[in-house]
């Protein structure tokens, strides 16, 4: 408890720090305690002494390497794709064309769909007689695919594996989260004074130069926030992979945690493994966030230093 100048019990309760007590208690019990527990668990062996055998066990997981690689590829490529498309659409909507309100409304729909419903939506599409193959067949694209020799007969999407499957998950994720990146960028653009870029264009800059040298540097803080949040949740992908391809087929770090907690019952070993994976994910997330913040500080987005 904070020391009070008068020191009486009554004034302690009147101290403004009392407002923070509930939060302090909450985060001590439900955040600090589990976090430190998992740290301790991950560095102790079954019999209780300090050891690194849990990490060895994790590295020995035959799918660890692929899970780690897939997670990084997913986070980086989806971040890149989502940023480019979100910025493009935000700039489009910001032009306030006729019907831009409706366009924004439609573009925001995927953001509102809960992840497990996204899983159902794309599952109904990716099965062999699903709506994606229906769409290809109705629009005649199926003929084109067969003509070009990409596939004979309907494509069996769910048989995709390796990087192909990772790219499919990236596309689905991009479809889903694009609006949330877009809405943050749009908020940044709406605060941006249009006169700056008009001035640049009067002085002879073309549209792209105005965007690169004026618009993006000014809304940079907004961009950094949006991208930081995105890369952190990008590292936490698992649900779409499991709902479409099942466990073990397209592994990700979080998919491993859920797999060892929910699917296998190896008693204490599966608990140790999932805790160790959790600690590993936290480390990856923190390091990525740190690198990201370091990289974006002191450098503007056009590549020239400030």
């Amino acid at each position: 408890m904070e020391k009070n100048k008068k020191g009486t019990v009554k004034s302690v309760f009147k101290s403004p720090y009392m407002f923070l007590v509930p939060a302090l208690l909450f985060y001590t019990f439900f955040w600090l305690l589990p976090v430190s527990l998992s740290l301790i668990e991950s560095f102790t062996s079954i019999d209780g002494g300090f050891s690194l055998e849990n990490f060895k066990m994790m590295f020995d997981d035959p799918l660890f390497g692929e899970a780690f690689r897939n997670t990084l590829i997913f986070a980086v490529i989806s971040l890149f794709l989502q940023f480019i498309f979100a910025l493009m659409f935000a700039l489009l909507i910001n032009r306030n064309f006729k019907g831009s309100k409706w366009f924004l409304f439609i573009m925001l729909i995927p953001m509102a769909i809960p992840p497990s419903a996204v899983g159902i939506l794309w599952n109904t599409g990716l099965v062999e007689s699903g709506w994606i193959n229906s769409l290809l067949s109705v629009t005649g694209l199926q003929n084109l695919i067969e003509l070009l020799g990409i596939a004979e007969g309907p494509i069996i999407w769910k048989e995709a594996s390796g990087l192909q499957a990772v790219f499919m998950i990236i596309l689905i994720d991009t479809w889903t989260v694009l609006p949330s990146v877009m809405i943050i960028l749009l908020a940044g653009l709406q605060n941006f004074n249009e006169e700056y870029s008009e001035a640049a264009r009067i002085f002879g800059a073309n549209r792209f130069q105005a965007l690169k040298d004026i618009v993006i540097p000014i809304i940079k803080p907004t961009i950094i926030t949006a991208l930081l949040l995105r890369i952190i949740s990008g590292l936490q992908v698992w649900l779409i992979s499991v709902m479409i391809f099942g466990f073990n087929n397209v592994p990700f770090l979080l998919e491993r945690i859920v797999f060892y907690t929910d699917q296998v019952r190896l008693g204490v070993y599966s608990y140790k493994l999932s805790v160790t994976y959790s600690v590993f994910v936290v480390a990856v997330v923190s390091i990525t966030a740190y690198i990201f913040i370091k990289l974006t500080k002191g450098k503007d987005w056009s590549g020239t230093s400030e």
Partner: protein
């Protein structure tokens, strides 16, 4: 290119992008009202199919009705045959989602027998059939719905009370370490919920809260308390303390002042953060997968419903049920965000 051409091209691009969002949704909606027979149709229709075109033929030799359905190609394909109207009634509702009584069917079908011609009927589908079926096919779906609402309500309560008081302290009092608090709330928001859930399972078992909605709500509140603190801080700062002082000067008590002056002014911020809290709880699958055993939430039930492909149309209607509240709250929030920043 002239400007009219540019404009056309621009709107073509816009339409194309919008369709990329609308078409998957249209298919999902159509699958969610599909009958058992339509699920196997290929190609699937993008526009909602609200009725079936049927043809009825009386087979005099075997003395039964042959029922056929118009397919995508326009030809009539035989579905079944029967002479008993109660059997036909069951068939229509089970495989075609058509709810007609025995008497209605008899009245329509008898024409085919009397005239000896093939007759053509257009029967409307009962579009709510699958939603009812969803709750019957998946055990505990209604309990899961109640659980989801409960978890969301507790999350809102926890985030509002704990986060709201931080927000107030940050805006209105001269406490030290405000930067540390802001940084702390960012750190806890960045922490993966799944990583917390694994060790949390052990703790919740100890506290007797494993497999309860309170346990889930605690995890959901971890990022939301920080968010609520941030939203309420900005709104408490924008409410002029002089209003409150004036009210006190004119003899109102502290509680009256809060009820009549402060509360109505900060209400929108609390509404917005409750919606965020609701969406976090409602949408989550991972945490409830790790921290519940029997008490599933609706999102988790939908996730698990992926198993049987024979029931994909029921799973789709469940998904629609899951989407509707999330959609409503997201758009309410969007209006609020526009007000705050626009």
């Amino acid at each position: 290119m002239n400007s009219a051409g540019k404009k056309t091209l621009f709107y073509l691009a816009i339409t194309f992008i919008a369709f990329a969002v609308i078409i998957p949704m249209m298919y999902l909606i159509n699958i969610s009202i599909s009958s058992a027979i339509e699920v196997n149709d290929f190609p699937k229709r993008v526009l909602p199919v609200l009725s079936h075109d049927l043809s009825i033929e009386w087979d005099d030799e075997s003395s039964y009705y042959i029922i056929s359905r118009k397919s995508f190609s326009g030809e009539y394909e035989e579905l079944t045959y029967s002479s008993k109207f109660d059997k036909i009634e069951t068939y229509l509702i089970t495989y075609l989602n058509i709810s007609k009584t025995e008497e209605e069917i008899e009245e329509d079908f008898i024409v085919a027998r009397n005239t000896g011609d093939i007759i053509y009927l257009n029967y409307n589908k009962d579009i709510f059939n699958n939603f009812g079926k969803f709750f019957k096919v998946f055990d505990g779906a209604s309990a899961a719905l109640v659980n989801s609402i409960q978890a969301a309500a507790i999350t809102i309560l926890l985030s509002m009370s704990i986060g709201g008081s931080i927000g107030y302290a940050l805006a209105r009092t001269k406490i030290k370490g405000k930067d540390a608090i802001s940084l702390g709330s960012l750190v806890v928001r960045m922490f993966p919920a799944v990583s917390i859930s694994v060790p949390m399972a052990v703790l919740l078992v100890k506290f007797g809260m494993y497999d309860t909605m309170l346990g889930l709500a605690i995890i959901y509140s971890i990022p939301n308390i920080g968010l609520t603190a941030w939203i309420t801080r900005s709104i408490f700062m924008s409410v002029n303390p002089e209003f409150e002082e004036a009210s006190l000067v004119f003899g109102a008590s502290k509680i009256q002042t809060f009820k009549k002056i402060t509360f109505p002014l900060v209400l929108p911020a609390f509404a917005a953060s409750s919606m965020y809290a609701f969406i976090t709880a409602w949408n989550d699958t991972a945490v409830s997968l790790l921290l519940t055993n029997n008490n599933e939430t609706l999102a988790l039930l939908i996730y698990k419903s992926m198993g049987g492909s024979a029931s994909i149309h029921y799973a789709a209607s469940g998904a629609i049920l899951l989407i509707l509240p999330a959609l409503a709250f997201t758009f309410l929030l969007k209006n609020y965000i526009n007000k705050m920043w626009g």
